[in-house]
């Protein structure tokens, strides 16, 4: 579980995150949504320690990231996995070497066990035969899957995904969403996904946080998103005609259910 308490992040006196408090639950896919420039990425970077907050606390199972020594931060980071927007696979390494790398740096397993674990992770994301390929030789969807395999290599307790569906077609996006959701359940990980994708919100959003201009505007689950009366959330979620229709249908169905004896 990750708790964020009164988190403030300011750049040159301008507050990008304004006293945000939220709790990301273990074994659940927690989604952070919001418009571009709302502070989602800054929040994620603060959560993983790539940025230092101006004030506030970030508690990883009661361990405060903001007060940690460099050594403690390093050991905490071995409990984290992250999937970057552009995958961030190491260009100079093959897919297999990318997944093997965190094991080589931090695992005490034998070489054979590390190789076995690497192959297991690649099998898990359906990349069994792509281990010998370089990132430049595979598709965007395969890159994302390789990034997931690398992120889970060390059995993380916390998984962070920064817009995992960006640049992917709708079908591949569904595959990636499903994979993230399954892995979260399988390993009981605290997963935090930063996304714009409304399909992800509907498919895997067990807990959703809507950020607007650095404030936590709304929180709930995928069911309550559709029925929320929050104007800012509605403007964001139902910006597309498709989701407007979905909402209309949902509301109609609810009315019908209410009128039924």
């Amino acid at each position: 579980m990750i708790e964020v308490k009164d988190l403030v992040k300011a750049f040159d006196g301008r507050e990008v995150l304004k006293k945000i408090s939220m709790t990301f639950e273990e074994g659940k896919t927690n989604l952070i949504i919001g418009r571009s420039g709302s502070g989602k990425t800054v929040l994620l970077k603060n959560l993983v320690g790539l940025m230092r907050p101006t004030s506030g606390q970030i508690l990883y199972d009661n361990r405060d990231l903001t007060q940690m020594s460099t050594d403690n931060m390093k050991s905490l980071r071995q409990e984290m996995g992250m999937i970057f927007q552009g995958s961030a696979l190491f260009d100079a390494m093959t897919v297999f070497e990318n997944v093997y790398f965190p094991l080589e740096m931090f695992s005490t397993l034998s070489k054979e066990e590390k190789e076995k674990r690497t192959q297991f992770c690649l099998d898990r994301v359906n990349l069994s035969d792509a281990g010998h390929l370089f990132p430049s030789e595979i598709s965007g969807g395969m890159m994302k899957r390789a990034a997931i395999a690398r992120a889970i290599a060390l059995n993380p307790k916390y998984l962070f995904c920064d817009e995992p569906n960006s640049g992917l077609d709708p079908q591949t996006s569904l595959v990636i969403d499903k994979l993230i959701h399954e892995i979260t359940k399988e390993y009981n990980i605290t997963t935090i996904v930063n996304t714009h994708d409304m399909n992800s919100v509907m498919n895997i959003g067990e807990k959703i946080f809507f950020i607007k201009e650095g404030n936590l505007e709304w929180e709930g689950d995928s069911g309550s998103v559709l029925l929320s009366q929050n104007q800012a959330l509605n403007d964001f979620v139902f910006a597309s005609d498709l989701f407007k229709k979905v909402k209309e249908v949902e509301v109609e169905e609810m009315k019908e259910n209410k009128t039924k004896p």
Binding site: V48, L50, R77, M80, F84, M105, F160
Partner: protein, 249 residues
């Protein structure tokens, strides 16, 4: 660039070096990276060093022969002067300026690309000291291999000079060879090698600094790479002046 801006950069560079010059997290990984970097930065530069040294050595001999053709000066002066120029400045300073362009831009653009594609962030998230993992093998690799390049440059510079003497009538070969052996001071070789090890440190660390703090996209990586080469070249020239004054003055 303002004075405070320069001091900011100097401070940032020193802090980066503090992160770089630490014990590697895994020695096995470090040595593997070191071998790769020696191959990429050093061995791959051998051909360019040989070609440049051979031709510049030849040109130095022709120029000296033409410009000091005086009956009062002995003919071996050409060999002696050429050797001193090649040993003291060309194979050390000028070769390092050339390497600053080739190797410096390579280091800066590689690390800069890793920065803008979030590969460095990925290393940090894993708990890897990205500065140490990426930069230290490059610095050590270049500092270890540059003396080899310098000695090769000296050798092929002199071979180029011999070539001119052999194929033209600029200077008789025997006079050139006699000049090469005259008044030889072994310290000059050590001076050149020590100087280049310091230049190798400058080339790798300054280029890595510009790459590591690159921001934006591919254009910014290109800009960082250009800045790295310009700043390294200036620093090499300034430190050459200081080192020469300290060691030879």
């Amino acid at each position: 660039m303002t004075l405070t801006g320069s001091l900011d950069k100097l401070g940032q560079y020193i802090l980066l070096m503090r992160k770089v010059i630490t014990v590697p997290q895994k020695w096995g990984v470090f040595f593997r990276q070191l071998v790769k970097e020696i191959n990429k930065l050093g061995v791959d530069s051998i051909s360019i060093v040989i070609i440049i040294s051979f031709f510049i050595g030849a040109v130095i001999v022709i120029q000296i022969a033409l410009n000091i053709s005086n009956p009062l000066l002995p003919r071996y002066t050409v060999g002696y002067t050429s050797r001193e120029i090649i040993l003291l400045e060309f194979s050390s300073t000028i070769m390092c300026l050339i390497l600053a362009g080739k190797v410096g831009s390579n280091i800066s653009s590689e690390i800069g690309t890793m920065r803008v594609t979030e590969q460095i962030d990925a290393l940090e998230i894993m708990g890897v000291n990205s500065a140490n993992y990426l930069i230290l093998p490059k610095m050590v690799g270049l500092m270890v291999f540059v003396p080899v390049l310098v000695v090769l440059s000296m050798f092929f510079g002199i071979i180029g000079g011999f070539g001119v003497c052999y194929f033209t009538d600029a200077v008789p070969v025997a006079d050139f060879a006699y000049g090469l052996q005259s008044f030889f001071n072994e310290f000059y070789i050590w001076y050149a090698i020590m100087k280049t090890i310091f230049f190798a440190f400058l080339i790798s660390s300054v280029a890595a600094y510009y790459g590591y703090f690159a921001q934006g996209g591919s254009l910014d990586v290109g800009k960082a790479s250009t800045n790295a080469v310009v700043v390294t070249s200036i620093l090499i020239l300034i430190s050459d002046l200081i080192i020469t004054d300290l060691m030879m003055g």
